[in-house]
């Protein structure tokens, strides 16, 4: 999978604007990471999410569409998709819960312990749902996510005036740029096909 970007963009944004990223976070964002590790290693050691938070808060996880019960024996491969959620309502919500009493009801889609895979630089797609978008989303964006130029254009266009007004500074490929210029010259500055690394610094 893609491990480098053609263009780097750093935005300094008001922290309330995390909600503008919710559609993107639900669909999933690609992160450059070291793959071949366990889910717990990825979340805790690489992404810096406290172990107690992972254990208590991220109670529903899917690795490539399979429900995870064991955080230390499910392995991340290059190109894996990891979806994270808090506890879900309903019978099916309870059924999906990590190690839950009703896990047997979804045996067919349970992620079984796998052999450790080779480690190396790679990317993982992380999807965040519900409260986790607000709680972990800023952290992922701070660390930097890969996205296509087309996705960036959609994000900035949908964010409209609130994103523009809440943007304090822009650095494009190492060079500062007035915020208004980025928003106004979006189609000329960003090629929809280009792969970008977006980092966000949060303020306030």
């Amino acid at each position: 999978m893609q491990t480098s970007a053609n263009l780097q963009l750093q935005l300094t944004l008001n922290s309330v604007l995390i909600s503008e990223f919710y559609p993107l976070l639900q669909r999933g964002v690609w992160l450059p990471v070291t793959t071949g590790c366990s889910v717990m290693n990825l979340l805790n050691s690489q992404l810096g999410i406290a172990e107690v938070y992972v254990q208590d808060r991220i109670t529903t996880l899917f690795l490539d569409g399979k429900a995870i019960d064991e955080l230390t024996s499910a392995y991340i491969e290059d190109g894996s998709t990891l979806a994270l959620s808090t506890a879900m309502p309903g019978l099916v919500g309870s059924t999906m819960r990590r190690g839950g009493h009703l896990a047997a009801m979804r045996g067919e889609i349970t992620c079984h312990p796998s052999q450790a895979v080779a480690t190396g630089a790679g990317t993982v797609k992380i999807k965040l749902f519900n409260m986790l978008m607000k709680e972990i989303g800023p952290l992922l964006l701070e660390r930097g996510i890969f996205l296509s130029g087309a996705e960036l254009i959609t994000l900035l266009t949908a964010g409209g005036a609130s994103l523009r007004n809440g943007c304090d500074s822009v650095i494009l490929d190492g060079f500062p740029l007035p915020c208004a210029e980025l928003f106004e010259q979006l189609p000329t500055r960003v090629n929809p096909q280009q792969m970008m690394l977006l980092k966000v610094i949060w303020q306030g």
Binding site: S19, Y22, P23, Q26, R27, R57, T59, T60, F62, G65, K66, A67, A83, S85, T86, A87, M88, P89, G90, L91, V92, G93, S94, T95, M96, H101, L102, A103, A104, M105, R106, G107, E108, I109, K127, F129, N130, M131, M133
Partner: protein
């Protein structure tokens, strides 16, 4: 709640009424009351729309008290959709008001000899049953507007729209919420058609001059209620996830699990899922000045509902629930929240079950009536066909099974004639067992009470054994029947699952209110008793083991992306009711 109101709509000279002592039903409620009365009084082989069927309405055991979450109302009858026994419940204000008026149940029986349409007004002094033909074929929103002018804003209303009057098998009974919107529905099984067959358009409950029901042990009740509310508030699901996003919080998760039935159960993943997720819905609601958190009745502390405004910021409908967003959304290939919200409003207004209606439209799409993804077309089918009672509308309004037959569709997702909701049974096989075996027909709430481990119903299950799925489903169905019988909102099941002290607080409330000690065993015994009665009724109505089955395509068509089929064997399903 020491009395039962019996209304005979077919009495000679016009409807008659009588009051009976509640007897054994004084300390019962919800599904226990409706199913016991239906099982005892309704001939199982009667025609559901005939004079012999009865419509039984019962509040919960703690409705009309200060107890939190106690405002569900149950409606029971023989179902015109399934042909079996039915209990369908809803939130809204009627349960609280009816209970404060002192009624443990209302039984509506018989059938008028003329084609007059009636309304029933109940206050603390009397019951008035009057002809009001000016209400004929009115839909729920304008109907309630009109009734409010006459009966005021302190009342709670139950009503049917035009679908109920047309006796469509998907017709619902609307209950008004605290803002007097007819937005909470006893949806499943066509209970609205039975009310329509009795020619009752609306029931108006006015509790002016009535007090909250007093507990036998007020201090004990207060303390238990406090602990119960604390338990609900501190739990991640009931105190946080549901209030913030409502039940539609499930869309993303089901989609990710590959268990989100898409385009009439062809795949388990909908590419437009995030566009209609609870997270997206909540953001939109707040942006438009609506509410992402709202209670369907006073006394609800979870508040899983909301208010959905249109693009101009004007009220359109209550926050559509997960199952509605699914049935009108992914099931039909529609990924636009405004379209889904409009369909939710139309369903509520006409008075049809949102699950049955959405599934029927998806089946019609599969039969080539309109294309999958055609939102405008779906709106037209509900508004102009079902809403106007055209021949096509009557096919759709009679549910997914009827629609499948009419358009020669092979893949028809129903059990006992009732549409399968929102969770593909190939992905979560245990829920498939519940769909297949429930006395109610396919019903996601039939095995909803996830508290079996605390209740220890049926002992500990070994999930690795093949019969584990059946045993889990059996225990869930027993526990759910018990919770349905308390009249509590099923969403209390989550704090109960994880927090034994919250379950104890609930038992404490029931004990302190009625002055008896209730144990988990009592709750389970009640659940089993009710299920046995319902099962017996269905047997006599003609149901056998062959009806406890999922449609065959679940066994033969692998569901992408996981490519799994439903693997629980028929013989295992047949074991579900063998609990000795």
């Amino acid at each position: 709640m020491d009395k039962i109101l019996r209304i005979n709509m077919g009495a000679s000279g016009g409807p008659s009424q009588s009051i009976e002592k509640a007897g054994e039903f004084t300390a019962l409620g919800g599904r226990a009351t409706t199913s016991m009365i239906v099982a005892k009084e309704v001939p199982p082989d009667c025609h559901p729309l005939g004079a012999e069927n009865k419509l039984v309405i019962a509040p919960g055991m703690l409705s009309g008290t200060t107890g939190a979450m106690s405002g569900r109302i149950s409606v029971g009858c023989k179902s015109p959709l399934t042909g079996g026994i039915k209990e369908s419940n809803a939130g809204g204000q009627p349960a609280q008001v009816m209970a404060r008026l002192g009624y443990a149940a209302i039984i509506i029986e018989g059938k008028p000899a003329t084609d007059d349409l009636y309304k029933i007004h109940i206050d603390k002094d009397k019951v008035t049953i009057s002809v009001d033909n000016s209400l004929k074929l009115m839909d729920n929103y304008p109907l309630i507007e009109k009734l409010r002018k006459e009966h005021g804003d302190n009342a709670a209303y139950m009503s049917i729209g035009s679908a109920g009057e047309r006796k469509m098998a998907a017709a619902s009974i609307a209950c008004t919420d605290p803002e007097l919107r007819p937005s909470r529905h006893c949806g499943r099984g066509g209970v609205g058609a039975v009310m329509g067959a009795k020619q009752v358009k609306a029931i108006i409950f006015d509790d002016k001059g009535c007090q909250q029901r007093p507990p036998k042990d007020p201090d004990g009740f207060k303390a238990a209620n406090r602990a119960y509310v604390e338990g609900i508030r501190k739990h991640a699901v009931s105190g946080e996830g549901l209030p913030a996003y409502g039940t539609n919080i499930l869309t993303n998760v089901l989609n990710e699990a590959g268990g989100y039935p898409t385009r009439n159960f062809k795949t388990g993943f909908f590419e437009g899922g995030t566009n209609i997720s609870g997270e997206t819905q909540a953001e939109l609601e707040v942006k438009r000045g609506g509410l992402a958190t709202h209670g369907c009745h006073r006394g609800c502390v979870i508040q899983c509902s909301g208010v959905y405004n249109d693009k101009d910021g004007k009220f359109l409908t209550k926050q559509p629930e997960y199952e509605t967003v699914w049935s009108h959304g992914g099931h039909c290939g529609i990924d636009d929240l405004d379209t889904i919200a409009m369909l939710d409003y139309l369903d509520d207004n006409i008075g049809v079950d949102t699950i049955e209606m959405g599934v029927a439209i998806g089946v019609a799409m599969d039969g080539g009536v309109i294309e999958f993804g055609d939102g405008e077309g779906a709106i037209r089918l509900v508004r102009d066909e079902v809403g106007k009672g055209t021949p096509l509308g009557r096919i759709l309004g009679n549910g997914a099974a009827m629609t499948g037959k009419a358009f020669a569709v092979e893949r028809v997702p129903v059990v006992k004639g009732q549409a399968i909701p929102a969770y593909d049974p190939r992905t979560v096989q245990g829920i498939g067992v519940t769909y297949a075996t429930s006395t109610m027909g396919a019903d996601h709430t039939a095995g909803y009470a996830v508290a079996t481990n605390i209740l220890k119903v049926g002992g500990d299950v070994d999930p690795l054994k093949p019969e584990g799925q059946v045993e889990l489903s059996r225990n869930l169905q027993i526990a759910t029947t018990a919770i349905d019988s308390t009249g509590m909102c099923l969403f209390i099941a989550f704090p109960i699952l994880d927090q034994p002290e919250t379950f104890d607080a609930l038992l404490g409330m029931l004990g302190a209110f009625y002055g008896t000690k209730m144990t988990g065993d009592d709750v389970i015994a009640l659940g089993k008793k009710v299920l046995n009665m319902e099962r017996e009724f269905n047997k006599k109505a003609g149901f056998g083991a062959e009806d406890d089955r999922l449609p065959r395509f679940f066994k033969t068509e692998p569901l992408p992306p996981h490519n799994i089929t439903f693997a629980v064997k028929d013989e295992e399903l047949d074991e579900l009711y063998n609990w000795g």
